[in-house]
Subunit: 235 residues, 2 copies
């Protein structure tokens, strides 16, 4: 219907259905954000407002709102006369972001911690199952979705609202970068590392120790940064 693009079931129908204005905005925003984070739109991709407008069955106006929000989040850069470009991150900014994320993770249990509920344990159990299945089946996108869902779970455990928003924003800014390096970092290592983090997180959650959860998360981020740093520095 749109312009010969793929994914007609997600875009053209759901977004232009009988939803309210705010719902359509959130829907299109989430779809485009996930496409960027899951590398459907790799860094450097030029998006084009008209193409997106026809795909989602709306005019350029609401698309522009979404793209400006994505620009504010740092996921795209809108350049007059050229288009909307999915951003890449230089190594310096990447390391700075990870350094900050590690510190913010440690603050998670320090500032207004929340109580662990049975629901939270069930969710992390589900994540453990999903990532264990990846030991025998390479699936980069599923791996990225698991880390997305883990981030959502950790957000629900962050009682301090501004801290939660900041952590989420920084996650979305860098998630796609290391995800793009995933194939070159060693699949087995990455899966086992994720399993190890989930085990640590679950053990801390069983004891209702959010502070320990934050420190485990921080350690995991440090490990990831080290691996990526080693990989990017040598060649």
């Amino acid at each position: 219907m749109a312009s010969g693009l793929a994914d007609p079931q997600i875009g053209g129908q759901a977004a232009s259905g009988s939803h309210s204005s705010a719902e359509r905005f959130d829907l299109i925003h989430t779809i485009l954000r996930d496409r960027i984070c899951l590398l459907d739109y790799p860094p450097g991709t030029v998006l084009g407002e008209t193409a997106l407008a026809t795909e989602f069955g709306v005019s350029r106006t609401p698309i522009r709102r979404v793209l400006h929000k994505l620009e504010f989040m740092g996921l795209v850069q809108i350049r007059n006369g050229i288009g909307t470009i999915v951003t890449d991150i230089d190594l310096k900014t990447f390391k700075e972001t990870y350094a900050l994320r590690m510190r913010l993770a440690e603050l998670m249990g320090d500032l207004s911690p929340v109580d662990i509920q049975a629901d939270h344990l069930a969710r992390i159990d589900g994540l453990q199952d999903r990532v264990r299945r990846l030991r025998t089946k390479t699936d980069h996108e599923e791996f990225a979705r698991i880390t997305n869902d883990l981030q959502k779970l950790l957000s629900d455990l962050t009682g301090n609202g501004p801290l939660r928003e900041t952590i989420e924003l920084l996650y979305f800014r860098v998630a796609r970068i290391w995800f793009s390096l995933l194939p070159q970092l060693g699949w087995e290592e990455m899966v086992e590392g994720q399993i190890a983090e989930l085990n640590e997180l679950r053990a801390a959650m069983e004891q209702n120790d959010i502070q320990c959860v934050g420190h485990a998360r921080s350690r995991h981020l440090r490990t990831m940064l080290t691996r990526i740093g080693n990989f990017l520095a040598e060649p």
Copy 2:
């Protein structure tokens, strides 16, 4: 020229002059942000896109871009059919934001600190002069401008980019709130408190000790939160 409003020299002329698109956007954004932070638009004010458009000599479209960015920053809330409302902050969010700001201030010297230059010392000297003048002349807006400029100076001392952006964002979110309480918190106390902070900051900067700068800032934030908390809790 516009609609009989005040400040014709800032709005109608400068913003619609011979600037490029991005420059006009930044200019209008800064003007409106400062009007909100300096309480020209106190919380609850309804802005109205058409009025702003006529004042700045542009159409609603670029005004909408600015207002949406301000909404992303949390300074306004856009409601369909009603208008764009300057936000207020509930006490819980206010305290959470301050708790986070204290921690982030401590990180300032920890993550990629910068070297203090003579220029930095000169700027803080200027701030000291300006705030000392307020001992004999009550001027709430000048006080707010000084804290704005101090925040800018501290931003320049924050080497970690994402940390700098986060600190700035959180500052703009809460600055106008305690500023609105300024008249009721005791003018002399606030001025002396600001002078004390500047003295501590300057002493730390002379020793090129950014970590000490961050801790002094954090202590000052804690003092402010305590005063405001006491004031808001009792009545």
